[in-house]
Symmetry: D2
Subunit: 282 residues, 4 copies
């Protein structure tokens, strides 16, 4: 059977689950998984993700959406419906560090990431050959302090309207608020520290100076404020005084690629809902 | 509002969520959390846990149960309904090792465990004073190879009909199948290894001999077959060649008490469903 | 045999290990464990911890120390020699949260912490009975904004010269620089976040607001600058959007007590060397 | 300066550290790191790993070795001396699963593994192109039940005398005792379970049946007895009832590649000593 995913967000009040599940049942859908969350017991926001099986989802979708729109009206609901058979189109941006990129491309080839990777772009030419080996287009978009606006225009040509999500796999350039707005799709970044510790540059060197016993990585949606967007996933690894900065960087690579891969997989499966500056992963 | 928890188990087919959520809504309940799981896409078993708010749950419960019984008939459903305001009555059995017992009693005193601990029983008198300090009754029920049947009779007098769950907090006696049957309530045990590795006695010494790099603990429901019951929770900690057997035992204590506490808390909150020799924690 | 522990710190240069191990061998000591660390390959600081067995360490200690002083002169070495048979005298300061205190006292009773706990002091009377149950003196030293200097004087009477280490087991008062100086012994604190994230008050509420996916705890030596002292140990636990602030606090308790217990045990075993604002745990 | 690594193993008795460090000092070496371990306080085995800096190690090695042989005689010592500038020659054997192989090759290219990878061999042709992209020779050595002896002969031609270590990166063939003997070098395998749980085939399916809450992987030296060789490294990841067998396999891939990479890196750095059926990682 085809698989649909319905994400719902509305003010909490009794009857939402009954309304949605009743509607799906009436259309012949079988609920395979359903997760919900209320931000507070009284007057909170209700968030729900429902995965259902429905024969001929594509054909039945318009009728389903029409009725969903009615229910949504009644409950002041915001909703999105996703067909699991249609993977999101993705672009990956990278600079010179290859570990996050390679890891995503391997997982993609192995079928672990439900994404349609359309292209890789980089401000350096170094990784073009590696990307080519996976049969994917690689675009070199150089960025200098003087050419940043032009570079962003070039990125917009490549990405705007062409992809549903952009992944920054250690892309060492800050995207302008203007670019983010015009892009209009979620951008996922991997930051090489356990945010909010060590916001900004050189987190491993600063972690070393502070003598922390764990280093971490954080995948988050990009917002205009640097390293302050909603966190999707984080993890850490144990280190010791024996680990100098290059050793911390090496340990960090493993965390970074794992954390980014999890965040991307969850986003691809419509499991992440942004709410109030944070995320709910259902 | 009062809080109810409904656990449901039945053959999977379309409409179950709609039926249950519709019924709850009709009775004025607001679903706060709902988790479900199907053991397979086709012909599997459907498991669901619903937490709902309902004013005057106690008074409305009979009417709710009557309708639930009808729906249950239609879907060949097995269900239990729990009032969160009524904590389960529990007994803890222990031998000489105090770490799991003390940890449970502290958490209980702190309000972390939603249980009504009625008594502690032990085959040794050693921990009586510690238990007394928490204001709980302590029963010394000695067990020798010759007196095991009498000891089990004594335990049944203390426990059968008096408690809803029995917790073996490093109780170093094997409970007979007869005792388990006559007890008629779930029994949770903590085993000091990462099962199925090191079933049976002296797991830490055997872990040391085998040179494992992690030691673990497993909380499980007790069945007649030793260390083979459904696993509720497991965890591990890193060890090295420097850890001799006493060091492994010390590391293990921390894992044991944590794993047992989690399993007990989940059981107390009606989050654990046994299915096909394993557990589903919703 | 008696066990000695020698801690050494000096500018790195060839021959240090040979000099120290040769000296110990000449005195009949057998090295059981030895760890060393150089802060950099060229011109760094050399740190070493040696554990050795030596019959009649007490009697032989003066001769050993005399020769050590000579070697130390040659290598510009700072060193301390500890007899493992003489546990450090400790005081624990606590406010109202009992989990770290109870855990330390229980581990102490178990023999897991090689400390001579002399007393517990608190700015609240609440935990007096619990401490009494362990047979330890409890001192209530109230602190109000107006009486802080007097309270610190009272603490100094209790502690200065009486203990070798002070443990802040969730003691919710800031110790003045004057107190720290006059105390003259290491003070270990447990902070309820993964420092340097969430320095200061209410870390769990701030972690919730920021939407982090892990919460942590940090044990560190206290310096005059708040939450900035050398980190001894850290750990984290996974949380999710479902965990509200009280749930984070509950999860945090387990991390706090574990991290503090490890830091205290390492300090008690002379395993922690402070160097350049961080620690080296050997 | 050049870097040497000295591994020592002998019956424990006083003076070993002094003898070895004195000798190294006399030859002008500066000890950068030294770790030792005694299997028991009385009558145990002493194991030591010393990393030292010595100008012109290559030229001075014969003189150093001659004196080491003398000291070794005195202490019944077995020792090996390694020049860090000479990486071990390695072969990787693989079947169809690419994740461990790709991870090793990528780390190798990154400079994270101090190995000289000479070739990859496989009983399937599938991964030839991937290996070629790294500029390494790939040998297809098919194995059928009838041709196993010939296949092992072919492997011996490729490997015996040509490599210092063989890495089984999910090679799904059992190596005969005869092959192991004639190969004469350590063979490292990655097993896809937390040994000794789930020895043998299909560990993830069996883990699923048993309802474990963690899955793991184990890197070990290969001995004739299946999955029973000395364990080098293990790790686990949390899973739940929601993870079906393919999901466990996907989670497992990440653990397998990480655990194997650690084991290989430690072996490459002469950090693993086999002792009494287990390993000591110094």
């Amino acid at each position: 059977a085809d698989v649909g995913r319905l994400l719902v967000r509305c003010p909490d009040r009794p009857g939402i689950v009954a309304a949605v599940s009743g509607l799906l049942h009436a259309h012949g859908a079988n609920i395979a998984q359903s997760d919900q969350y209320s931000t507070s017991l009284e007057g909170g926001t209700f968030l729900m993700r429902v995965v259902f099986h429905l024969e001929e989802l594509g054909a039945r979708r318009p009728a389903l959406e029409a009725e969903l729109a009615e229910v949504a009206d009644r409950y002041a609901m915001r909703w999105t419906l996703h067909d699991a058979a249609v993977p999101k189109r993705a672009a990956i941006l990278v600079s010179r560090e290859d570990h996050c990129l390679m890891d995503l491309l391997w997982r993609h080839r192995r079928g672990e990431l439900d994404l349609d990777v359309r292209l890789v772009a980089s401000n350096h030419p170094d990784l073009g050959e590696d990307v080519g080996a996976f049969g994917l287009p690689f675009h070199h978009v150089p960025v200098t302090p003087g050419t940043k606006p032009q570079a962003e225009e070039r990125l917009l040509e490549l990405l705007a309207g062409e992809v549903d999500v952009v992944i920054l796999a250690r892309y060492m350039q800050i995207l302008s608020g203007d670019l983010l707005t015009r892009l209009g799709v979620p951008v996922i970044n991997i930051h090489h520290s356990f945010l909010p510790a060590f916001v900004g540059a050189n987190p491993y060197a600063r972690a070393r100076d502070r003598g922390v016993k764990l280093v971490g990585a954080t995948a988050h949606y990009v917002t205009e404020e640097l390293d302050a967007g909603p966190i999707i996933e984080q993890d850490v690894a144990r280190v010791s005084h024996r680990d100098d900065v290059p050793a911390l960087v090496a340990v960090g690579r493993d965390i970074e690629r794992t954390v980014l891969a999890r965040a991307v997989a969850w986003h691809a499966a419509d499991r992440v809902i942004v709410h109030d500056g944070t995320t709910v992963v259902l």
